[in-house]
Amino acid sequence: MTTLSTKHLLGIKDLTADDIHLILKTAENFKEVINRPIKKVPSLRDITIANLFFENSTRTKLSFELAEKRLSADVVNFSSASSSVKKGETLIDTVNNILAMKVDMVVMRHPNPGAAVFLSKHIDAKIVNAGDGAHEHPTQALLDAFSIKEKLGSIKGKKIAIVGDILHSRVALSNIFCLQKLGAEVMVCGPTTLMPKYIHSLGVKVEHDLRKALEWCDVANMLRIQLERQEIKFFPSLREYTMLFGLNKELLDSLSKKIVVMHPGPINRGVEITSDVADSSQSIILEQVENGVAVRMAVLFLLAGRA
């Protein structure tokens, strides 16, 4: 296997296990590249990439931009706050106008689920989904898988608990697909109100007691409470959520084994995770960020290499 089975990266659901292994293996090479004195390779010097962010982002946007620049691609950035989208232009028109300026790849984040799939059906460029609403966030899942593999040596047979706001989380859905394809066991943990109705159909374990979930798992991925996506109250108060589903040092130290703690960022310190846990030796949060650049380089490199 030397090429991906897909032309775009729209979601983990479309990838095969071989695709994921290829991306992770290629990312290992790029991780070595970004730790060199000169962190740049000329692989994509003939490629222009447009980053279209119709929704706020710091980490993902920076990470993609760094990945593109370290591959020597030309980069154009766009964010909806300062664009003609506000004047009523449709998504296809916006993107086609950008493509008319000869862009080869599009990295897009959009608040609507399915926006990337929709775009891939209407325009002639390679699409990378950088998050579409509460649907998928494939590069986050890939970098999480890369980080787990780096820390624990393998993913197959490992137990991963995803804790928090499963209902609104694209990270959770992409992670579930990715980890299952790689042979891990996945458990989701959170308040009943933040569980999707059809969660059982994904083949994951569901737990509502944080301590039980943590005792079960090798890795805990603590998700952020996405207040911006919650138009109604899903739990009585943040303080109560923290008491029941927040991870603190006391709880972490009382477990029978040392688990790995992950967080996709941005962290709400003191809500889903306390500062001393986020900064502890068991946390690999900053490794996740570093690996994010390498994984995104691998994705862009492999997609560009595909005719």
């Binding site: 030397t2 090429t3 290629t26 090479n29 070595e32 590249v33 060199r36 004195p37 000169i38 740049k40 390779v41 000329p42 692989s43 591959l71 490199f301 560009a304 290499g305 005719a307």
Partner: protein
């Protein structure tokens, strides 16, 4: 059908590698300011062989030898499928004399990519090229090797295959040509 013809057998390959080592020692003395870099994927075996032999001859254990992958620097990326390999250079090449090692010198494009890739690790004082097989008259770029195991004349449709005991079971170099 490709018809194989042996260019170097295991005995001759050993003699050739030994000769290359002595040529290197002639110029680089005790290798105190010289490092060896093998190009991925097939140059690393020759580099390892030369490295081992040099350490035996010089009775030294600290000669530096690394491997360098050129995939991300190639100009034929997107024309054919390329698989990246590991780069492992855990020493400083700034100001060093570098001996770049590959098994076969053909068009010169791999070496061109290798030179670019190497510069990401610093500015060497001097770079020399060592190859086991030099396929004459097939260069696309003005690149020549300083140390050559064996020079052969071949046409583009022929293939040179270098095999090593470590990976292929036996040391030998064969020329594969189309059956007429």
């Amino acid at each position: 059908m490709m018809k194989p013809r042996i260019i170097l057998d295991s005995k001759h390959l050993d003699i050739t590698v030994t000769r290359l080592c002595y040529q290197l020692i002639e110029i680089h003395n005790d290798f105190s300011n010289t490092v060896i870099i093998g190009l991925q994927p097939r140059g690393i075996y020759l580099a390892a062989r030369i490295h081992k032999k040099l350490q035996e001859i010089l009775k030294k254990k600290d000669i530096k030898c690394g491997s360098l992958d050129t995939t991300f620097y190639r100009d034929d990326f997107r024309q054919k499928e390329l698989v990246p390999n590991k780069t492992n250079i855990d020493f400083i090449i700034e100001g060093k004399n570098v001996i770049m090692v590959d098994d076969v010198l053909f068009t010169g494009r791999t070496i061109r990519a290798g030179l670019d890739a190497m510069l990401a690790f610093g500015r060497p004082n001097d770079v020399e090229l060592l190859v086991l097989i030099d396929r004459r008259f097939s260069r696309h770029l003005p690149i020549q090797a300083k140390y050559v195991g064996k020079t052969i004349d071949s046409i583009a449709s022929e293939k040179v295959k270098v095999e090593w005991k470590e990976t292929d079971g036996a040391d030998k170099v064969t020329l594969l040509s189309n059956d007429k």
